[in-house]
Symmetry: C2
Subunit: 491 residues, 2 copies
């Protein structure tokens, strides 16, 4: 039995191998809009699994982008982890300083100089960054866990728990096939805990584990005041102005500080229990830095961590007429507001859509489906077309969940540094599919929070890659109980 320090030493020896394996995979374009590219990536991933003796299966979906499933188990091991991540990437888009599928090392930001590919592990600087699509979201997460298996094997050890792997090829399209996959294969996915391996670290940069995610409702509100725009010179003051009416409607739905005025909104939110409040209070403060960057004069009364454990009512977009070069002298006949509402435990998306519908109607706007005709407007006056996408609910794993607590304890023991433990992260992920199958999920992101995911110049800070491997070593080694490897038993 080796110590954790020994495992880290072995990991350092493999630093270049790890980087090379990630870079080789990043050279395989994985634009989620290209199903053939996703299938090629699935093949590449299965070879990576096979090299570790992990048998894998392709689970097809209607989108043509398969899930890759694998298992690694040993007789006599009782605890089972399901590791969920994804291998597709958002389309490369414009604005890259280097080609998105040609991984490059730089000493810092995207305008810093290139670094020659290192010739030895000792030459690698942890402050370097690897630039490529999916370097941080989320091929790195998959490479990290597989690299941890290699280190364990090099140490003559095997994981202290059975492992199941579920790698999603359509995550960037909102995983339309995940519910069906879980329905079909629920029994095989059974585990003591699901660890979702992707996402960004807490802004403090500390290792991060979240026991929940928020739900989401996305609502597009189109206020139709007239059947068409009117010339502002000929009809201004006569034709109803949808943009003005929308501004007043927004004022009635959200106060000036962005808090919901919608009747009933948030009343079903489960109160935060004592352990959640304690965890929230223990999260390192980063409010000052965030406020500095955003240019805020004052901090909100609540901490950021407290706020992301509560529901929000965010106005994410506005459009009417035109602005800038597109400005025209019209009275806008219709105007659009886009909202994303983040839900916490207890709030049902369908109920939130109903609250929105009722609240708008109570303000005097009949709700219609589709674009109203002039005849409808003549009869009803201004109306609101509400396209409410009832997303999904929040999911929470209790902070005292046995397998979850063990993971946190192992991470703390290995890393010897404080951990950010979030009752819920602020983002929204569709973990309710797992919850429906009785599976509890926690999230362990390992990417730097300035990784530019979903944008140009996506990049991974190398120190986070290697610490990510260490985190998996801490988890997989178990409470000093990692098992000696027995040849031939890991398939």
């Amino acid at each position: 039995m080796r110590t954790l320090a020994t495992l880290q030493s072995l990991r350092r020896q493999r630093a270049l191998v790890i980087l090379d394996e990630l870079a080789a995979w990043l050279r395989v374009p994985n634009d989620v809009e290209d199903s053939a590219a996703i299938q090629a990536n699935a093949g590449h991933l299965r070879e990576m699994l096979a090299r570790r003796g992990i048998h894998s299966e392709l689970w097809p979906t209607a989108s043509g982008r398969p899930y890759v499933y694998g298992e690694l188990c040993r007789l006599g091991v009782r605890e089972t982890l399901l590791i969920y991540s994804h291998y597709d990437g958002v389309p490369a888009g414009e604005g890259w300083h280097s080609p998105p599928y040609e991984p490059r090392l730089r000493s810092g930001g995207a305008d810093s100089g290139f670094v020659h590919w290192p010739a030895s592990p000792a030459a690698i600087e942890p402050s370097w960054r690897l630039y490529a699509r999916s370097a941080a979201d989320s091929k790195n997460a998959i490479v990290a866990v597989l690299s941890a298996l290699d280190v364990l094997r090099a140490a003559g050890m095997a994981p202290a728990m059975n492992l199941k792997f579920l790698f999603d090829g359509e995550e960037e399209r909102e995983s339309p096939g995940l519910a069906g996959i879980i329905d079909r294969h629920g029994a095989r996915l059974d585990a003591d805990l699901v660890i979702s391996a992707s996402g960004e670290l807490h802004q403090s940069g500390l290792p991060t584990v979240a026991f929940g995610v928020r739900g989401i409702v996305q609502a597009r509100l189109t206020l139709h005041a007239a059947a068409h725009d009117a010339h502002s010179g000929h009809f201004g003051g006569f034709a109803p102005n949808a943009a003005v009416q929308l501004a007043h409607l927004i004022g009635a739905l959200v106060d000036g500080d962005g808090r919901a005025r919608l009747p009933g909104y948030g009343k079903d939110a489960a109160p935060l229990d004592a352990s959640s409040l304690a965890a929230i209070a223990a999260v390192p403060p980063i409010e000052h830095e965030v406020a500095q960057r955003l240019g805020m004069r004052e901090l909100p009364r609540d901490s950021l961590q407290m706020l992301i454990n509560q529901p929000t009512f965010n106005l994410r977009g506005l459009a009417a007429g035109g602005v800038g070069a597109g400005a025209r002298n019209v009275v806008p006949g219709s105007a659009v507001a886009e909202f994303d509402l983040r839900l916490v435990e207890g709030m049902a998306p369908e109920a939130v859509c109903a609250q929105l519908r009722d609240g708008i109607a109570a303000l005097g706007y009949p709700i219609v489906d589709g674009t109203p005709t002039a005849a409808t407007l003549r009869q009803c006056g201004p109306v609101v077309q509400l396209d409410c996408l009832a997303g999904f609910p929040a999911t929470r794993t209790p902070l005292d969940h046995a397998a979850g607590r063990r993971i946190v304890a192992r991470l703390r023991a290995l890393l010897g540094q404080e951990l950010v433990l979030e009752p819920s992260e602020g983002g929204s992920l569709a973990f309710h599919h797992f919850a429906r199958a009785g599976l509890s999920v926690i999230t362990m992101p390992i990417s730097n929070d300035d990784c530019n995911q979903h944008s140009h110049d996506e990049n991974l800070l190398l120190s986070t890659l290697y610490r990510g491997v260490d985190q998996w070593l801490a988890i997989l080694a178990g409470d000093g109980q990692a098992l000696p490897s027995q040849s031939g038993e890991t398939s």
Copy 2:
């Protein structure tokens, strides 16, 4: 001396010649963005003038798009009219049912059948429409007045007043050279009255004369609440939302019915005098039809004509984050509102910009120039970047203006039908340049109000073309005093 009925009969005989001349000119592309095309059109126009024995000059401008100036005078004639119109056209754009520079006749709307080009004047139906760029805005206006001169000449008559012509080649670019032209050539432009010949008839379709135009201020208001957008999952509820703050700010500036709440706005507006109120009351009601088309349940208390003789405070555009396919889960750091404010006599554009600046500041938003840095926002809190274009003031010619009253009387006498006499039209035109030179302007549009100017499928209803010629006959013939033509004296 011929009667007006005789003149109309001669005009009918020339109906095909008139149409052919307009169509020939429409085949010369006049995209205002193409200065060479504009110069070619100026040449074509000068030939049209020369065919009438009118000597013309090219008055160059910095934009490379010249004004064409011409004179037609006779010894002993005391009254002088300056006829102002334009020969450039907005870019053709997309969506045309037939090529924009290949004039075509149709029996009705753009999806109605083509009509063969008529072989004789008697074959022309007044309900046909001519489709081409500038068919209605405004080559038709120039052809109409020149055709009236032809009819007079065919009747052995000459105009009862001296005529000056000023044809603008950069009107669709806001006539940047007009002020300089008037400064340089003010004395030569002197006239008893300027008739601006372009634009659309009143919606009733009746012959229309307007004695004023409104001024305009265009203001772009960018509210900066944060230095950049923030992820709505990670920072929603913490990061300030510029879109929400903008909605509240708009609510403070404009009431739900679109009326200005801005302190001081409109207080300098000159009250409407008794003759203006009488003229407004005499305009045929078209509110019901407009409201039907727009889909309005209720009519405003004031008539449309009353409203366009008052200032407006129109919100013409809104933008923040994204909507529809462009929607993203962000807290918008900035948000934009575009206003166009229509001014009436007495309101100074610069004073309106100051009111806007003061009113926004009084609501707690410091005004800044340009995009603020994070440091500025930390110091000041949310700020507003106000880009206020102090356009130009309204201009009005008194309804009892002697030359103006004579024009109206002649039109009423000839046409034997009621006239729409507007104290001011709703639109905004830069007639203050003429006013500054001591010139009074009235507007006589002749194009159908559904002519689609500035858009695809621009079209001219033929009946409005011929009635436009008749209107010029009524004006030029004078109070039964048109002069017998004397060979050689019309150059």
